[in-house]
Each structure stands twice: as C-alpha cells, then as structure tokens.
Symmetry: C2
Amino acid sequence: MKAEIIAVGSELLLGQITNTNAKFISARLADIGIDVHYQTVVGDNPHRLKQTIEIANERADMIIFTGGLGPTKDDLTKETIANLLDTPLVSHDAALVSIEAYFTRTGRKMTENNKKQALVLHNSTVLENHHGMAPGMALEKSGRHYILLPGPPHEMQPMFEHEALPYLLRMLGKKEVIVSRILNFYGIGEADLEFRLQSIIEQQSNPTIAPLASADAVTLRLTAKAETREEAERLIVPVEAEIRAYVGEYLFGINDDTLSSKTAKLLHEQNLTIAAAESLTAGLFTSELASEPGISTALKGGVIVYDEKAKIEQLAIPASLLQQYGVVSAECATALAVHVKQKFKSSIGVGLTGVAGPGAHGGEEAGTVWIGLALPDEKVETYRLQLSGSRNTNRLRTARFALYYLIKYLQSKNAKM
Amino acid sequence: MKAEIIAVGSELLLGQITNTNAKFISARLADIGIDVHYQTVVGDNPHRLKQTIEIANERADMIIFTGGLGPTKDDLTKETIANLLDTPLVSHDAALVSIEAYFTRTGRKMTENNKKQALVLHNSTVLENHHGMAPGMALEKSGRHYILLPGPPHEMQPMFEHEALPYLLRMLGKKEVIVSRILNFYGIGEADLEFRLQSIIEQQSNPTIAPLASADAVTLRLTAKAETREEAERLIVPVEAEIRAYVGEYLFGINDDTLSSKTAKLLHEQNLTIAAAESLTAGLFTSELASEPGISTALKGGVIVYDEKAKIEQLAIPASLLQQYGVVSAECATALAVHVKQKFKSSIGVGLTGVAGPGAHGGEEAGTVWIGLALPDEKVETYRLQLSGSRNTNRLRTARFALYYLIKYLQSKNAKM
C-alpha cells in the first residue's frame, strides 16, 4: 500500500504556514505499515490540483488530502475530485443539521456558501468533524482510496485519530486495535537512551519502540497491535519492564505526564507544600510548576534572589557563607533551600544557584549549577549540573532538573510508604 | 517564473521531521516575486527522485532542492540530477580544502565518503556552506534553473540568504538590493492591525508590507527593493512613519527587539533597577526579563506570592486591604508593586495579580488581571486586562503586557529627557 499526501492551500505555497499536517499523517501511517512515497503541496487552483491528482493516481494506491473543504470559492478539493472521478456531490443530512445547529447556537446567519460544506462525495464514508464544520470523506474508486480531511490541524488531527484511522484499519482488513504507551524520560540524552536500549529496540516488533524527539525531553512510544485492547496492553507490559530495568532511573512519567504535572500530582498526593529560592532561573522553576491548575494548595511561593545582596537581605543568608564557598556552591544551594523553606513555612524548599552564561561568574564557568532540596525530614540533598547550552537553555534545564530530582525523591518516598 | 521546491529525505516521509525548509524558501521567493506552484517531498530513492524531477521539469522554470547532499550512500540528489541532465560531477578544489581542514581541526579521520561532498555539478555556481560541509549549487540548463541546497535548516537558511538569494536576483536581471525592516507590536491583534492599515497595505508595493503571524506577537515586515541599500532604506522611511501614525502606540521595537530585550535595554540606558511581586504569573515576568544577558545590573529580584497568606506575610500587605478590595484589584496590584519596590530598594516595582483560570477566583472570572507599576517618581500606574485564553496563555500574556506597559512608560520618559 503506497500513499501520497496532498495538501491543498496557497498559503502553504506563499510560505505563510508550515505543512505540519504532512508530518502528522505520515507518522500515523507509518505506525500501521502504510508507506508514504510522496508529500505534495498545491495551491487553490483547480487546474493544477487536477493535474496533481492525476499524477498521484498513477503512483499511489491511497491519496490523502488535507485542506480545501471550507465554504469559500477557493475551497475546491472535493469539487475537483468529484469532477475527476465522475462522482456526484450529494448533500449529507447529518452534516447539514450540524451546520445549521452551529449557526443557530452562535446566533449568526447561515449563508448559501455554508451549505456547500454539507456536500459529500456520493457513496463515500463520511468522517465526522467534531471541531469544525466541514465533514471529511473516505471513498474507494477503481481500487484506489481517497481520504479527504480538513486543513486546520485542530480539526484534522482528531478526525484522523478517531475517524480515518479506524476506517484505514478496517480497509486494511486488520481487525487490529492499536495501543500506544509513551514513556517520558529526563536526565538522559536521546542518543544515550537509544544506545542503551539498542538490542531491545531492534529485536522488538510488537510493540514497536519509537524514540521521539521533543524539546529537551526524551520519550519512547511503545505501539502494540492486537485483536483486543487488553491483548495489546498485555504485549506492552514485559517490554516496558525490560526498558525500566535498563533506564528506569530516568523514567519520570507515562503518556501525558510532564515534569511539572507529575511533580504537582505527587505533591498533592502526599499533602506537601513547596517554596523556591531562585537565582539563575529567576522564577522559571516556580512558574513551570504554576502552569498546573490547582497548584495553589501546594505552592506557597518563592523568592527571586538574582544578585548576591538579595540573597543576603531577602533570605538572611550569612555573607560569610557566600564569601567562603561562593554563590555557585552546594553550600549556597543548601542555604537557599533551607531558608526559603523556613520563610514560607513549606514542607519542601528548593534552592537554585549557578551560572547561566554566556560568561563565567563567581569563579565558575557558564553552565555550572547547584540544586538544593530541603526535605520534610530536615535532610538536604544537593545536585551539581554541568550544562553546556546557551544561557536560556541552561536556565530551562536547571528548572527541569530540579523538577526531575524532586519527582525522584517523591517517588522514592511513595515506595517507602 | 514558476518554481517548485523538492525536499529529499525519507525522514520527512516517515513523519520524523517537518518540512520547514519549504515554508522558509517559499516565503523568501514570494518576496522577490517568484511564484511557487508546487512543494514536493520524495524519499531517498533514486528512481522516485528521478521521476519527481522529470515531472518538475515539465511544470517549473526553477527547481529548488533541499537535502540529499550529505556523504552517505542515501544522499543522492546531485548524482540523480547529474545523471538526468547529463552533466558530470567534478571535484571542487575549494570545497575539498575546506572539508580536509574541518577534519584536521577536529582531529577526526576523513574517509573517502567525505570526499564525495566536494563533488559539484560541472559548470554550476557553487554556493558556499558556512555551517556545514556540503556545498550548494546553482545551475542553468536548457533554460531551466536548478538550485541545490543542504537539508539541515541551520545550513540551508544562511546559504539561501547569503548565496542563493543574490544569485537569484542576478539571474532575474535585477540589480536590486532588498532591505527588510520588521516592526514589532504588542497589545493589538493581527486582524485589528491589518484592518486599521488595510488601505496602506493595499496601496503599497515598494516597500511591501507583510503581516507575520508569530506566537502572541504581531509583526509587520517592510521589504523595499532598490538599486542601493541607501535607496531601499529611504523608501521605507515614509511608509513606517505612516504606519506609526495609525498604530504607533502598539509598536514596541524594531527587527530583533523582543519585549524583554527592549525592556532590558531601556532599563540599562536609564540606569534603573527593577523588582517584581508576582501572583498568577508566579515568576514568569521576572524569568522572561532574566532571559536577557547582563540583566543582573538592573534586576534586583522578586517575590512570588502565590497565595493570599504569602502576600500578607512576605510583603506585609495589610489583610484589611485584601479583604476590602479582594486580591484581584487595582489596590492589590498597587500594594504589590509599592511593597516589592521598597523591599528590594529598586527604582521600579511591578505587581501582578489576577485569575489565570480555568476557574473563577476571589469573585472574579478567569482572565481578569491587574498590573501595577510603582515608578521612580513615586507615582503608580495600574492596568486592567480581560484575557480570554487558557490558564497558561493568560499567565504568559500578563507577563508580556507588563513588559509592554513598562516599555511604553520608559519610552515616554525617554521622550521627556
């Protein structure tokens, strides 16, 4: 099964938007064993669109379109396909009702144009759009498959996942269920993770193990296929266990877990409160944590002590300590954590100090960071990082490493409880 | 002049990366009046690449390739083109010297494979690669133009700007210089900005005025063409003045200026220091400001007073004030700004309070925000925002609006000086 993805829209050719739809669809098709041989972008021009489809008809078994399903005169995808395949467009009752309901609900007046959106290719399977008005379509004609999806990613992606993917699996004659489980890691590079798991990744075919690149986090996507969801989930269990045996110390969460959501969840579960004293991160750690709704019961607040004087005046850290050990030291990180914990009467205090860069500071080179965690049992843990990024990458990594160490502490506490 | 962009790389078809090169090149070609009619992606497969080029030969006057110039056996772009155009590949002395120097410098051993990267199409104009090893090429054959660029964006983009663009302008017979000037706005939506400037944008052809969408900021790109840089710059002046007359109050910076860099610059210029008390933003404002290198002379620090008790205990804000006006009030924002200014002995204090959401809080609905600025002359300005985004969009916009109001204040002060 060879597929071609055709994105329709002049705004793509003008360089106003990026064709993220092609990436999304290609990745999902790869999951189910459909090879994409071409991605094509063509403008809102019926002649060139027709030629593009004719070329795709020659070289693909399946053509997936995105875009051009809207109500304006520029939206020509289904009209051009209808014409080329000699298949009439017919009004789809359910789609029309849903469009009319939308206009009634928003108090706007429906125009004739909008009725156009309820037209679908005769004999096609309609793919419901839960995030917009234009329905999608799937049609088989002369042994070739045509899938029509809307252009806006927030409409296209859910339609693909919930409507097109099941259709494709049925079409492939696969009574398969696909279950994915995402393992989220921190503190280990992608290359290192792949190296340590190389033999497992290579041997494994069901579930497949796909490392995913994302900004500053490493994830593995385990995708299992089976006849039932339970069986697919059962296939994942031993593979996940094997992965945990190798690199479990870096695993902090599953699926949607982020460093901040996982930290918030563990703090809530254990009824703990937190406050932070931040130097180089200047509020970034606390702000990341505050991105979680409902954090107010756990987050007491914090102090941003960007310069040395602020550390002394705002947190009463002895000047002699800073003079003896320097501001970039385990001792300073400890003092920041302990003092902010006392100041905000929280169960946990976090102290972050270091050199963001670009230049050296306090006798330490850029990227040298100390993290202090003052814990509920009065113990203090300190961690040293030697980062090599730009100023703001170093600041972001410091905040995230602090969340990561916090999660590891809270998880170990969970294990003991 | 009709162009087609062909990106070569199986990783694109597998959905592992997004084709950002097509967007970048399309936008730059639009600037100089070259229409892109197709964007195509094909894998590292010589047969399909050959067919793709044959199709492009039929419908384009100019074909721009990205990717497939590397040293591995998968990299086939120039070999396939050489074959198809019956043009031999010849070793390019300067490229070979530069590749050898790279290996000597990094102490690595050069293999035969790497020599392949110094091969270029006979009679082509070599486009220098200052960020990688593979040179680019530009070739005219049978009245058709072929431009070969590397795939990695950090190599492709500078090569396009500094090597390909001048080549294209020469080729187009234009003795033109292109000068762009970017105007950065905040506090106004893209649609509103375009509406207010509609007649100017429509009437204007040199410079052209292109609104650019970017995350949460609105920019206009003025692009002038002339025979000299001075003349192009002179063309921009009256158009910029006209734009300023309409929407100048929202303009905060030029070209690379960001809200935080502009704030930092103005604080430094005026020898002012700053501290912030943040509630809903929880450190985001201070952290954005701290992203600027050298900010330590201006940034004293801050307090994150996420809950009501922290506002009272950490900043000595009277409980009676919070009881009378609520935490989401001009009075609370004022108190935060004034108290944090005193506490950190800074010239300016910033107070941020409001409801990030998702739910309502303190009797106010999500998105209600108060910003307080305690100024060097002891005056206090307050601003009310009614935002409608998600929790974290509201938090980010609050931090950015605070920077924007600060810039406006500092600029007005500059004007008075």
